[in-house]
């Protein structure tokens, strides 16, 4: 009986605790400050106990509609490593004409001091504003009196004149969120499309409802006659329907960190809002975007991309001169490509819309991706080539999953010659025709035809880039003397050009081989480096003392010497995100070894051929000995560029096998005097 009594109190206590969670601002409880570790994720350094984000519209006569965002966060700090969560940065857009307004910032830190709950206020002079760029200002603050165990709480409000800018609302952080409330109220005048991040396994339920609402505002009327000034106040009330969307979730897990993930937030849960159209009383529908077709049309027409492409005049003479006597379209394109790259340099800003305008960029010699590539397209068109803009999104901007204008942030040129499409990006000095820089190789792009019609095209190369090595080795004692020829084509060549573009890196084969003690390199030569798009040939001769292990009476020789793959790129046991390769690739090795005088083969590593998955890749390792020559040919091919987490283990094993085979040694031993060796043979 007593036992039962006890359990009920405990139960009661737990229920009571749950109910006692009070998320009103300022109602931080002792229990929350007392909590020592996160109940689910024990090693969390901090957790969001509560986050609420309310988005709604305000109306006043002077400013019209304003988009209001109210944020309230309560964060628990468990350990010193979680202190970063006590510092907050709030981004504000400061546009050309109008800017966001941050108000009502309040913050408190809660600690238990000698058993008493004490609060410390964030003071106004502890809040700072930093201008990050032309477009962004950041409001920064760090909470006072934070120690392990503190609970911090703050709230703020942003008023924005950019009524379509709801954007991405976060639904997940790097730390757990115990309680999340998102509440978006949109008046009937605005229609948004909304979607959650498909790359996140977390998809939350969006509750929808409607409510009649009204805005009331007053107007002053001043009537002045000869002697009297009369003021009248008039109240106006507008009634409308509010569409309410809300997400209420508990126990949102922390976003997991993993190596080889370039942009972790690609995988975080969020909900994105894009303005489709507005329909105000007594006016027509204003369309923003609905289908991909609409998006590209609006970019092409409304934003003036099409206009920009029609500009010419300022470069005619130079192009005419440049192309005089040329008729081959590929040659013309190459000339123009080189001309644009030499004339206008990229200023590191991305965008599909020209920042300076193509004309100014041409005159001043620098511009953003929009300036440069629209200029390129415009010149190609001027030369009667079939060139069109291709809109795309860089990896940091995510993948264009739904038809939105913000889904794109970059433009390249698509050039059609004899039915084949070649992509060109003049912001990358090392890219040839058909080669995009990594920032532009993100899934699919949208090719826009004249007038704005558009279609999807693949941005990943459809060819396999090749890196092939030929090495001939002979021995003087235990010193290996050899020649190394390597061919780079496709994107391997482009990468090589990038890595060797700075003067210090001219001979970085020495740097690359720094881990090989004592190696001497001579006759280093690179061919075709300046010849964009062409295959690069890199050759050198080397001398490597102690290239073999001479142990006892045997010689152990790893045929790939310093070119063997020794490290598995995939070290984690498991993986929850996909693995991406930059492009389809093949690495080939062909090695000829002349045996040292007076030695014979005791054993050779076994040959082996292994496939990755169905046919996503292949590893070959084939050894032959004939006479005093050993020949190794090896190949590592990766055909697919995206591997699912379920395929991670195959990849890991694939590399494990490569490293094993590349590490195996040929065993040699001295031939005994000729006659004796014959004797042994015949003694069988």
């Amino acid at each position: 009986m007593r036992q039962i009594y006890l359990t009920t109190t405990i139960l009661f206590f737990i229920v009571f605790q749950l109910n006692s969670q009070n998320y009103k601002f300022g109602k931080v409880s002792e229990e929350e400050v007392l909590q020592k570790e996160h109940p689910v994720k024990k090693d969390a350094n901090a957790a969001v106990l509560f986050r609420s984000q309310k988005v709604y519209y305000d109306y006043d006569k002077n400013n019209g509609f304003r988009l209001i965002t109210e944020v309230h966060e309560r964060i628990k700090i468990y350990s010193k490593e979680g202190f970063d969560w006590a510092t907050k940065e709030i981004r504000k857009y400061t546009g050309k004409s109008d800017e966001d307004d941050l108000t009502s910032l309040k913050g408190y830190t809660y600690n238990l001091i000698d058993g008493k709950l004490e609060e410390e206020k964030l003071k106004n002079d502890e809040v700072f504003e930093e201008e990050k760029s032309k477009y962004w200002t950041v409001t920064k603050f760090t909470m006072p009196a934070v120690t392990e165990g503190s609970v911090i709480e703050y709230t703020y409000k942003i008023k924005s004149p950019y009524i379509g800018s709801i954007g991405k609302l976060p639904l997940q952080y790097n730390i757990p969120i115990d309680r999340l409330e998102v509440d978006v109220k949109i008046p009937e005048y605005f229609y948004f499309s909304k979607f959650q991040n498909m790359r996140s396994p977390l998809q939350y339920k969006l509750e929808e409802s409607t409510k009649r609402d009204s805005y009331t505002f007053s107007t002053m009327n001043r009537n002045s006659s000869m002697h009297v000034v009369k003021q009248t106040r008039e109240n106006t009330k507008i009634e409308f329907t509010n569409y309410i969307y809300s997400i209420n979730e508990n126990d949102i897990p922390a976003l997991k960190k993993e190596s080889h993930v370039e942009n972790l937030h690609t995988y975080a849960a969020f909900i994105d809002w894009e303005l489709q159209y507005t329909k105000f009383p007594n006016s027509t529908i204003q369309n923003y975007s609905q289908t991909w077709e609409d998006v590209t049309k609006s970019i092409y027409n409304d934003l003036g991309v099409g206009q920009e492409l029609k500009r010419d005049g300022f470069y005619d003479e130079e192009i005419d001169l440049l192309l005089s006597g040329l008729s081959d379209p590929r040659m013309k394109a190459e000339k123009i490509f080189a001309f644009v790259k030499q004339k206008v340099k990229w200023n590191d800003y991305v965008g599909f819309y020209p920042d300076n305008g193509t004309k100014k960029a041409f005159k001043e010699g620098s511009g953003n991706t929009g300036d440069i590539n629209l200029l390129l397209i415009s010149m190609l068109k001027y030369a009667n080539l079939d060139a069109q803009p291709v809109l795309l999104s860089t990896p940091s901007n995510g993948i264009p999953l739904f038809p939105t204008r913000d889904g794109f942030n970059y433009v390249v040129a698509g050039l059609r010659i004899d039915g084949n499409l070649f992509l060109m990006d003049a912001t990358d000095p090392n890219a040839g025709i058909g080669e995009l820089p990594k920032r532009a190789r993100n899934w699919q792009g949208r090719l826009i035809k004249e007038g704005g019609e558009s279609s999807w095209i693949n941005l990943m190369p459809d060819y396999i880039s090749e890196n092939s090595l030929r090495m001939n080795i002979k021995f003087e004692g235990s010193t290996a003397i050899g020649r190394n020829y390597r061919n780079y084509n496709g994107l391997f060549a482009k990468e090589f050009r990038e890595e060797h573009s700075k003067p210090e890196q001219n001979n970085n084969v020495e740097e690359r081989l720094e881990f090989v003690p004592d190696i001497e390199i001579s006759e280093y030569k690179v061919e075709n480096k300046e010849n964009l798009g062409a295959e690069i040939i890199e050759k050198f001769e080397f001398k490597l003392p102690a290239a073999t292990d001479v142990i006892g009476d045997k010689i152990y020789l790893k045929p790939l010497l310093f070119e063997a793959i020794q490290e598995n790129p995939f070290k984690d046991e498991t993986r929850s995100y996909p693995v991406f390769y930059d492009y389809p690739e093949v690495k080939k090795y062909l090695i000829n070894i002349m045996l040292p005088e007076g030695y014979k083969v005791v054993s050779l590593p076994e040959s082996s051929v292994v496939k990755l998955g169905e046919d996503d890749g292949e590893f070959k390792f084939i050894l032959n000995a004939s006479g005093n020559i050993i020949r190794l040919s090896s190949l590592i091919m990766i055909k697919k560029t995206a591997f699912l987490p379920q395929e991670y283990n195959f990849l890991k094993k694939f590399y494990r096998n490569i490293i094993k085979k590349h590490g195996e040694a040929i065993v040699l031993e001295k031939t005994i005097e000729d006659g004796n060796s014959e004797l042994t043979e015949s003694g069988r």
Binding site: E126, S366, Y556, V667
Partner: protein, 638 residues
């Protein structure tokens, strides 16, 4: 009226230089060698208008030869309330010396200027943003700023870095107010210098300095380059006036104006600390408790506004906020110690790579503050107050072995911080490795780290299991598919010892050669120094800190295997260090064990460039000896 004169002066200056032509073809060939940029001329003119009013005029012409040379354009100025940009202008010339673009003051970009560990500072920077069409090109930059802080006259560094040559560099102080100046030369000997100076003014010129390449293990540029250090006898810092010609007076001035009066504490905190320390017997014990209290209750956040860049927040304020920068946290700790009757000294230092506060030349220096507690008949205790995790009296490689200045009520005092010798910087490993027939293994490993290596690793203890496992996997790429049975890390802050006890397995370590297995005898290679393969060394070789490794590896052979071949023991003894390698086989019942003892010590020091070949041989020999393998084979085959 003054403005009028300045305009005329400037006008003269610009017409003077407009006549110059900066064709790239005019550059002497020897100045192009090794260079990414050529400084055609650089003028710094400092005009002392008054003790709290200094104008600095810069005129700088740089030819940029390639992309890497852009770091030497230096067309920017920092500014804040006490430092105002009066003029700023840039002209871009093409290789032939023709003007292609001009930037007026309003064309410069400005933005906040502070490193990301600082939460906020009012310092901003106004800089030139220019994307060149092609190389080479030349930038003519001129600026005029006015500052009220004469405590920081810019020094003259005629050599500007590696890979840059300097045709002409001018440095001049104009001082009509006749405030006495002090200056000192450092390493100017090797340069072609002409100079004129008086008690009030000076005029230095250097010419034809060819570019040098950087080589690994070169002495740091800051410590080894020529410079002229200059200060005023009377000066101003953000409006606070001072007068000093030696460290004692300068320290006294700093103490009186920046540190004194900032040590207030509330009664609450004093009684709390008194309570915490009441049972502690010695000064050191008390200090330990107070240091821990500071670490547990504060964090590092830097906010630098105006004089706040130099003066610590009041201790009371740090107590309330629970955060501060190095000055604030050091001063807070000092105040807490003082409340318990323990004296300590606010000490200014350069944190980061070894760099000295110049002991001979007094002027505002340093970028960091730490605390020292003088002890009777013992070395001072050093406290790094910005770290929540560092052990008591541990400096590590951030502030070790360098000159610093204590700011005491009685005056400044130059001191040298603790040095970590090769013996102090010890990493000791013992491992037992059970090899299996497939070439994998099961191992237990114990490793102890002390001195600077301790500082490199002790934070690992605070990481999550995943991060720990990942740390080992990344650091030991030679093992395949490492699985951990246990990772036990212990950070003994009292003895400043970090211990790692690991049990783990991996499935490939030895390489196959037919039936045989090759065992690499250096189980975990933790010596990672490599040297360039260059032929003609120009710079001295500098090893900043010695280090020693003591390793013992026991490789237990799989059953049925025997040692077929074994490399011999070996000793190397050089002035750069020593390696003792002992390799032997033991029989334990039915199994054979290979025992490897490997003791490596690298010495601290600086050696002439001519010794480079010997040094390189030593390093390569170590790697070579470390790469050796034993061969084992099944008994019936051997």
């Amino acid at each position: 009226m003054r403005n009028f004169i300045v305009v005329i002066f400037l006008g003269l200056f610009s017409t003077l230089h407009c006549q110059e032509n900066y064709k790239v073809s005019d550059i002497n060939l020897k100045m192009l060698l090794n260079a990414n940029a050529v400084v055609r001329e650089h003028h710094t003119e400092i005009e002392i208008e008054n003790i709290d009013d200094v104008e600095i005029f810069t005129y700088r012409v740089v030819t940029v030869l390639n992309e890497s040379g852009e770091t030497f354009i230096n067309a920017y100025e920092n500014f804040d309330k006490g430092r105002v940009i009066l003029d700023q202008e840039a002209v871009i010339l093409n290789a032939e010396g023709d003007e292609i673009r001009k930037f007026k003051k309003r064309d410069f970009n400005s933005q906040s200027n502070f490193q990301n560990f600082v939460l906020f500072s009012d310092n901003k920077v106004s800089y030139l943003e220019y994307t060149p069409r092609k190389y080479p090109y030349t930038v003519i930059y001129s600026s005029r700023i006015r500052t009220e802080s004469s405590a920081f006259l810019p020094d003259w560094w005629p050599v500007e870095g590696y890979k840059v040559s300097v045709e002409k560099s001018f440095y001049k102080i104009i001082n009509e107010e006749r405030i006495p100046i002090r200056f000192t030369e450092r390493k100017l000997d090797g340069l072609a210098i002409s100079k004129e100076y008086s008690k009030y003014e000076l005029d230095y010129t250097a010419e034809d300095i060819p570019a040098k390449s950087y080589e690994e293990l070169s002495p740091s540029f800051r410590n080894s380059s020529p410079r002229l250090m200059v200060a005023l006898e009377e000066f101003s810092l953000e409006g606070i006036l001072g007068k000093a010609t030696n460290w004692e007076d300068f320290g006294k001035w700093q103490y009186d104006n920046l540190v004194a009066g900032q040590g207030d504490l509330s009664g609450v905190i004093v009684s709390k600390v008194s309570g915490l320390t009441q049972n502690a017997k010695t000064k050191e014990e008390k200090a330990r408790i107070i240091y821990k209290y500071v670490q547990d209750n504060t964090r590092y956040i830097a906010v630098m506004l105006g004089i706040g860049g130099w003066k610590p927040y009041n201790a009371q304020e740090v107590d309330r906020l629970g955060y501060g920068d190095c000055k604030g946290l050091t001063n807070f700790t000092k105040a807490l110690l003082a409340s318990q009757g323990i004296e300590s000294d606010y000490t200014v230092i350069y944190g980061g790579p070894k760099r000295d506060i110049d002991p001979e030349f007094t002027k505002m220096q340093g970028n960091h503050v730490i605390l020292s507690i003088p002890m009777d008949n013992k070395d001072d205790i050093w406290l790094e107050c910005t770290s929540q995790d560092a052990p008591f009296n541990y400096l590590g490689d951030f502030t070790d072995d360098r000159y610093a200045v204590k700011i005491k009520p009685t005056g400044g005092e130059i001191v040298r911080t603790k040095k970590y010798t090769a013996e102090d910087n010890l990493q000791k490993t013992s491992a037992e490795i059970k090899i299996n027939e497939n070439g994998g293994f099961d191992a237990t490993l114990n490793r102890y780290s002390y001195g600077v290596p301790y500082g490199d690793i002790y934070l690992l203890e605070l990481q999550t299991e995943d991060v720990k496992m990942n740390y080992y996997r990344e650091n030991w790429p030679q093992f395949q598919n490492v699985m951990f049975d246990s990772i036990i890390l212990k950070n003994d802050k009292n003895d400043i010892e970090f211990s790692e006890k690991l049990r783990f397995q991996a499935n490939r370590f030895c390489s196959n050669a037919g039936d045989r297995l090759l065992i690499p005898l250096n189980f975990i290679e933790n010596f990672d120094l490599t040297v360039e393969k260059d032929k003609n060394r120009e710079n001295p070789i500098q090893i900043l800190r010695g280090k020693s490794y003591q390793n013992q590896f026991r490789f237990i052979l799989p059953e049925g295997y025997t040692v077929e071949a074994l490399p011999g023991s070996k000793e190397l003894q050089t002035e750069f260090g020593t390696l003792k390698l002992k390799i032997s086989v033991e029989n334990e019942e039915d199994t054979e064990v290979i025992l490897v003892e490997r003791n490596l010590q690298i010495e601290e020091g600086e050696w002439a460039p001519e010794k480079f070949k010997k040094f390189k041989d030593f390093i390569n020999q170590i790697h070579h000896l470390s790469n050796r393998k034993a061969v084992i084979a099944p008994i019936n085959k051997a």
